[in-house]
Point group: C2
Chain length 380, copies 2
Amino acid sequence: MSRSELAQKTGLNRSTIADLIGELGRLGLVEEKPGIATAGPGRPSPVVSPRPEGATVLAIELSVDSMAVATVGLGGHVYGKVRRSRARGRHSVDETIDEVVHMARALLSELGGDQVLVGMGVAVVGVVRRSDGFVHLAPNLGWKNVPLGALLASRFGLGDPVMAANEADLGALAEYRRGAGVGASHLVYVGSEVGIGSGIIQDGQPMLGVAGYAGEAGHMLINPKGRECRCGSRGCWETEAGEAALAERAGLSNFVGQRLIEEITCRVDSRDPQALEALETTGTWLGYGIGNLINVFNPDVVVVGGLYQELFPHLREPLEAAARSIVLDAPGEQVRIVPGSLGVDAALLGAAEMALSPVIADPAAVRAVTPTQPPDLAKA
Amino acid sequence: MSRSELAQKTGLNRSTIADLIGELGRLGLVEEKPGIATAGPGRPSPVVSPRPEGATVLAIELSVDSMAVATVGLGGHVYGKVRRSRARGRHSVDETIDEVVHMARALLSELGGDQVLVGMGVAVVGVVRRSDGFVHLAPNLGWKNVPLGALLASRFGLGDPVMAANEADLGALAEYRRGAGVGASHLVYVGSEVGIGSGIIQDGQPMLGVAGYAGEAGHMLINPKGRECRCGSRGCWETEAGEAALAERAGLSNFVGQRLIEEITCRVDSRDPQALEALETTGTWLGYGIGNLINVFNPDVVVVGGLYQELFPHLREPLEAAARSIVLDAPGEQVRIVPGSLGVDAALLGAAEMALSPVIADPAAVRAVTPTQPPDLAKA
DNA sequence: CCGAATTGTTGGACCTCGCAACAAATACGG
DNA sequence: CCGTATTTGTTGCGAGGTCCAACAATTCGG
């Protein structure tokens, strides 16, 4: 983007932009390139772009059936990424952190010398306090009250605890900044893994609620006569529209996660009626919940991510029909309901964006972070 | 509040505060009084308080079965208020505006000479565009695409269209600033008239959504096997928890509005089993919806306003039980669910707060507004 | 009556940003 | 090939808002 475009977009003066670009350039966060084909007369404008090497972060994702680590530079540039499948169920905290350290070591050693590491961020399936990465509850990992942010910080030799957030919240952030939601200002992200999580961007800002637990739409009551839910209630959205419900309807209860998606896709391709029916029903329930969220949030765009991203073409029709049947006729604009574009990595990239956000908020205040040595594996 | 308290609260310097207070004083928006009993040593501090006369607005409410007009000064001080009942159903736009002008004339003539009128604000039962008060849809008034803000502006001889907003959104604002939500930062307001409306304050700011239609929780699907709704759908929250459902359950379908509330209160006092049962059931449905909103918004406080404010003591128990059964165990803090404290005037006061908000945003830019003469009644 | 404590006030300094003029680089018409 | 219009980056200056440090005002406690 050129300087004058920046001036127009930000509403700031050209001279102010020049000043800021100068400072960011000195900090190594942006660079200017000769500029491309010019349209019309006038002095050609060099293109200003973020310099990914200027600020790199380590992003971590602890998901239901996999974990991942990545090194990501300013602007969302992914340098390296490792994902590892894990069986669902309990995992010890120590073991998990060891594994993270192991995966991170490999990625960090690949970083070039000019790359400045400035922070870390973690996406967790569970209820997490953002500021210090305290995991209140993560049923899918079997964790409760784990000071993950502090543990990671001490393990990597950092001063401050590592920030962490809910997977769906970070998925929303990533799709908003780098994915299907670019250009929107109000976004609702619906991600499904075992349950259904949601994250909301309101006017460009993540909506966190008073304690950071906003967006727990998975347990929205939607069918009082519905199935029993793990949470003890009945007829929660995720019991009607979640993975388990889909699998049961399709007669595939022994499949989970990616395997389930593949199996269903396969059966749909061969026109299996039970699979088609299951998608129809599940899409309808998904649509009801999404319709509720649209009524409540009035977003630009709803992004369907997680497992259902791949199935979206098969879910679209019933989903949209159900949502439209609920949504009040908003005059003028129509909401777009679209699949995510970042796939399984949405939350991982969101964790990176979160870790990079201090750089964007106050570039001058950010310092390089040095993990103590290539961190060693305590128990390896 | 004293100057040093202000400095502490805002984080600004004492000298900055002095400067700002000086400017606001010159504009007549604040005044300093000798200051009260001092605690401890030190120079005594005069108390700075908003001067209601400095900025007065005309607030208007167009509700389901009544309309109201009030003159309100800075800080929420009500100078005068008129409310008039109207039969439910269609009302012509012209007739309504005439009536508003009539009621406003009386109130404006009572204003003292030192009171500066700076704007107007309208609360409407319906879907309204805030910026220019365009009423997209107000089924309860029988209105569709009425440029109410512009009509009022031309009738009162103002330059800019009058701002208007949804009743529930303004109820939320009023309860947040002046009512049961004072001190909270994240508030969900649930107001019931004919249907159920909701308004949300997130981190001190009204949550509007991309087009200003956020918070339409009344048509949240909550019971797919439920009653048919006016909106064409089935099992919306308001069909299960709204006024009509309550009346029907209590066997009082021929009562509406305030009369219904009185009749029910009366029957409850005499232990009428059908009334008690109706409250129990309605409270439960209310609680389910509120629980959903709590999960999604993670608020400090939920304020129940509108018709149900008075019935709240009788609704509390089933309502809280239902809500708690849905809400995920938020560690630490508990949400408070409380009745509103502003009663039927919540939306009216909210309209005043909305009209006053430009003064708070930029006191220097606000000019006195002069309605053309005491506005005359064109058709009277 | 004097020191400690608190608070309002004053003058100077800094930082951010906008404005206006100028310089640089291109397209287009002759 | 040259001059003009056009767009854009750059420079110097000024306005506004804020903080800091020192000082003045006022009260409490000994």
